[in-house]
């Protein structure tokens, strides 16, 4: 197991490197640069700016400088749009915010989602099942760009209970709406996956056998059915976890949270190369790590799995 983890971590290095190189060239071929604007800069001014950021160098040199700066100084370069800040600043400021509301939303979505799904499956075709299913569909039917305005209208304008946006160091009243808005649609999906996976497991031979042996339902579910049920759910949760952890652009936009989601999408739209690359590397690293964890989790859910 340990050697497997080490091997996977070693593979992570070339993986991230390929990601960086691919993203780097992707960015360079995409039309429009960071300094393309409504009023095109005079060539001389543009040349000065490009010289300042080293963009006048050949591509391979730019890539090389970028990589060596990361390795030697852990410096991910300047932001071309937010000129008073660099990539390290932007990630250091946005990531903790996204991490906070993202992990809360993730917890809410997975706990409530799994619970709804399990309950619905156990009481298949009962009113509990129907209620859970309706809640799941309801949650799925309200993507965050509908949830955002609805929440703000309800809690801020009509009820006057919660502030309409901002972060304020992550105080609870600023957290509620972002967490709800971000978690609902995932909650619905997780409930749905859990329910059908559980139904399938409950129908399988080994559970039937366990039940036939006269084991109490609770024991059967907890001891035997839970692990195989969660296997596909965990595969789904992996990418979701990475996604919510790095924040959601909708949540950041609607609730002015200042998270990384907005910085990420914004940097792609403004071609703020270094910011985009920096967040992509963070995203890639998280993906690799989280997928390693889920792979390890598989082995726990199903001890027979070998890689």
């Amino acid at each position: 197991m340990v050697s497997y983890i080490i091997r996977r971590l070693l593979i992570a290095i070339p993986t991230i490197l390929i990601l960086i190189v691919a993203s780097f060239f992707l960015i360079k071929i995409a039309p429009g640069g960071p300094f393309t604007s409504e009023r095109p800069l005079p060539p001389q001014v543009l040349a000065n700016i490009e010289a300042r950021y080293g963009l006048d160098q050949p591509l391979w040199k730019q890539l090389w400088d970028y990589l060596t700066n990361i390795v030697l100084h852990f410096d991910f370069g300047p932001s071309f749009k937010f000129k008073d800040r660099d990539v390290n600043d932007i990630i250091a400021q946005g990531f903790p915010i996204s991490l906070t509301y993202g992990s809360l939303a993730f917890l809410a979505a997975s706990i409530v989602g799994v619970a709804l799904g399990v309950v619905a499956a156990i009481r298949h075709n009962s009113w509990i099942d129907y209620t859970a299913v309706s809640m799941g569909i309801g949650a799925q039917a309200l993507p965050n760009f509908i949830m955002g305005p609805i929440l703000i209208l309800t809690f801020t304008l009509w009820l006057g209970l919660l502030p309409g946006g901002g972060w304020n160091g992550g105080q609870w009243e600023y957290l509620i709406m972002p967490v709800i808005a971000l978690s609902t649609s995932y909650m619905g999906n997780i409930a749905r996956l859990t329910r059908s996976s559980m139904l399938e497991v409950l129908n399988s031979n080994f559970i039937r056998t366990a039940r036939a042996k006269g084991l109490p339902t609770r024991t059967v579910i907890w001891r035997h059915a839970m692990k195989p049920t969660l296997l596909p759910v965990v595969s789904y949760l992996g990418p979701v976890f990475v996604y919510v952890l790095t924040g959601s652009v909708f949540v950041d936009m609607y609730f002015s949270t200042g998270g990384l989601g907005q910085a990420y999408v914004g940097s792609a739209l403004t071609r703020d190369y270094a910011v985009l690359l920096g967040v992509t590397i963070l995203y890639g690293t998280l993906t690799v790590v989280v997928n390693l964890i889920t792979d390890l989790a598989y082995a726990w859910f199903d001890p027979k799995i070998r890689y």
């Binding site: 095109p40 660099d86 946006g165 200042g258 739209l269």
Partner: protein, 541 residues
């Protein structure tokens, strides 16, 4: 020439001014009871690009910088020049040398005096290739001696034509007698910069913990993409007359969310989303305001070789322009009090006299008839319909206008216009490379003068995406650069634009805001919307 006389007056006044404090009066009208809490909270569309006066390039950032730093001259509520750090200026006979007299009581927020050297440092900094400010071109446009050479890297920044005659006298040498030069000193790029602080903290000097500024406010808090807070600068020379204690800018991208939060009482000011002005005006007549701005909105034909053959025919261009019912666009689509546009330059521009164009006075039905005739003359009709693609960048408001235009053309002229939205940077790239047939465009004036708009249609302009080229227009614009009688030149250019129709003017912008009733002093008459928090006040309710 209202514009020029105003300038002359300002010059005259400045030489006779004694001290700034003597003329600065309280801007709060008599009889107003001020509120206890003087906090002004407003919505900011986007995170600002920078708070460095020489680097900032966006409107949101410039609004903050104008509060934090004070340049030579300021604008009043009508957009007229009033003293800033300079109590006034003198222009030499040939208008090539300007001398600004600085007030002696101006201080930085750390207590240091603001001197002419701070301006020398800042202006050199603005043109320094090493700083690589995106607004270097502005300094070049100001025609300061050697600016162009320094930007090109052929001279050292120290050679810039500015000098501190003494601590309180700042002198500028120009290469051309630019008539609107003093106006340009209200622009953020020309604001002073604290050399010692910048040298100590480098790129991080604008952080709240480092920044030193000379304006009415200092930055106390900055949470990117969330909020920034600026508070009264006790060292400011006119601190006594500053009413607002604290200014909070909240970044809210979504205008509908911003309006909701305004209605929930979280903001004193926000923008009104397109189409919502009439109903808000009815419900909150005191709060919804609309006033003209210095921006235009147009569609440009691609007249280069890569453009469609059809647009080479002036009759086609005219037909399309005539068939646009501008009243529908302004009154039923935008609905925010935008003036319909029959000229490229907004009528609100100072010193601009719009020509009496025949189409501006016609009924829409007459324009439609004329459009049909012109298109038929050009050889297009039911059996040979005109087809083209029109591009715009993705945005709800642009899309509404584009759809309305295409439907007008389709129903009135049988023209088949395909709509294509594009992501902003792709759009700019395609438009800039003449990879389009008809493209949306908009322009906001850099200063309050017609040339800031009309220069776009100069053959050599880097902004001339439609590649319109007319010798007479170029000639007139060249003359205007040094002429004292500029209005007739601009009027003639507009006349030619009507005859040639290289662009379809649609409407001119309006500032459409919700201003809370307890917010006083908002400069609705300042068409450039250069506002200063120090001139605002909160009224007790």
């Amino acid at each position: 020439m209202k514009h020029m006389s105003k300038l002359a007056l300002a010059t005259l006044l400045s030489t006779t001014m004694l001290t700034g404090a003597a003329i600065a009066e309280s801007h709060v009208p008599e009889g107003v009871t001020l509120a206890e809490d003087q906090t002004f909270t407003y919505r900011q569309l986007d995170e600002f690009s920078s708070l460095d006066p020489q680097v900032v390039e966006d409107v949101d950032g410039a609004n903050v910088v104008r509060d934090l730093f004070e340049g030579l001259m300021n604008q009043d509520a009508e957009g007229n020049l009033v003293p800033g750090v300079a109590t006034g200026y003198e222009a030499s006979e040939d208008k090539m040398t300007y001398t600004f007299n600085l007030r002696e009581d101006a201080k930085w927020s750390n207590g240091d005096p603001v001197t002419a050297n701070d301006f020398v440092y800042a202006w050199r900094r603005a043109v320094d290739p090493e700083l690589a400010s995106p607004y270097q071109w502005f300094m070049e446009l100001m025609s300061i001696e050697n600016a162009a050479e320094i930007i090109a890297g052929d001279m050292a920044p120290e050679e810039l034509g500015v000098k501190a005659v003494d601590d309180y006298t700042f002198e500028v040498q120009l290469t051309a007698p630019l008539p609107y030069f003093p106006q340009m000193t209200t622009h953020a790029t020309t604001f002073p910069a604290p050399q010692s602080v910048i040298e100590e903290h480098g790129d991080e000097w604008t952080r709240p913990e480092n920044i030193v500024s000379n304006g009415a406010y200092v930055l106390t808090e900055h949470l990117p993409n969330e909020r920034s807070v600026r508070e009264r600068n006790e060292m400011y020379w006119d601190n006594e007359n500053t009413v607002i204690d604290r200014v909070v800018a909240l970044v809210i991208n979504d205008e509908n969310v911003a309006l909701t939060r305004y209605l929930a009482g979280e903001l004193d000011q926000t923008d009104i989303p397109a189409g919502q002005y009439p109903s808000l005006k009815e419900e909150y007549p005191e709060q919804a305001v609309s006033f003209p701005r210095l921006c235009n909105y147009y569609y440009t034909f691609n007249l280069s070789d890569s453009g469609p053959e059809a647009f080479q025919d002036v009759n086609v261009r005219k037909a399309l322009a005539l068939a646009v019912d501008r009243d529908i666009i302004t009154e039923r689509v935008m609905q925010g009090g935008q003036p319909p546009a029959y000229t490229f330059t907004p009528a609100a521009v100072a010193g601009f006299e719009p020509p009496q164009l025949e189409w501006a006075g016609m009924e829409q039905s007459e324009r439609d008839q004329m459009a049909k005739d012109l298109l038929a003359e050009a050889g297009y009709g039911p059996d040979n319909p005109l087809e083209f693609e029109m591009v715009y960048n993705t945005s709800e408001a642009h899309e509404k206008v584009a759809v309305a235009l295409s439907q007008m053309w389709k129903q009135k002229l049988g023209v088949q216009a395909t709509l294509a939205n594009m992501e902003w940077k792709v759009f700019l790239e395609e438009r800039g490379n003449q990879n389009f047939e008809l493209a949306r465009g908009a322009w906001c004036g850099d200063y309050n003068e017609a040339s800031t708009f009309l220069d776009l249609l100069d053959s050599d302009s880097g902004y001339n995406d439609g590649k319109f080229s007319n010798g007479r227009v170029d000639e007139l614009l060249e003359q205007a650069k040094t002429s004292d009688e500029r209005a007739p030149l601009y009027t003639e250019v507009e006349q030619i634009l009507y005859e040639e129709m290289p662009v379809i003017p649609i409407y001119h912008y309006a500032g459409v805001y919700m201003n809370d009733t307890d917010l006083g002093g908002w400069p609705v008459d300042n068409v450039e919307q250069n506002w200063y928090s120090k001139n605002l006040y909160k009224i007790a309710e």
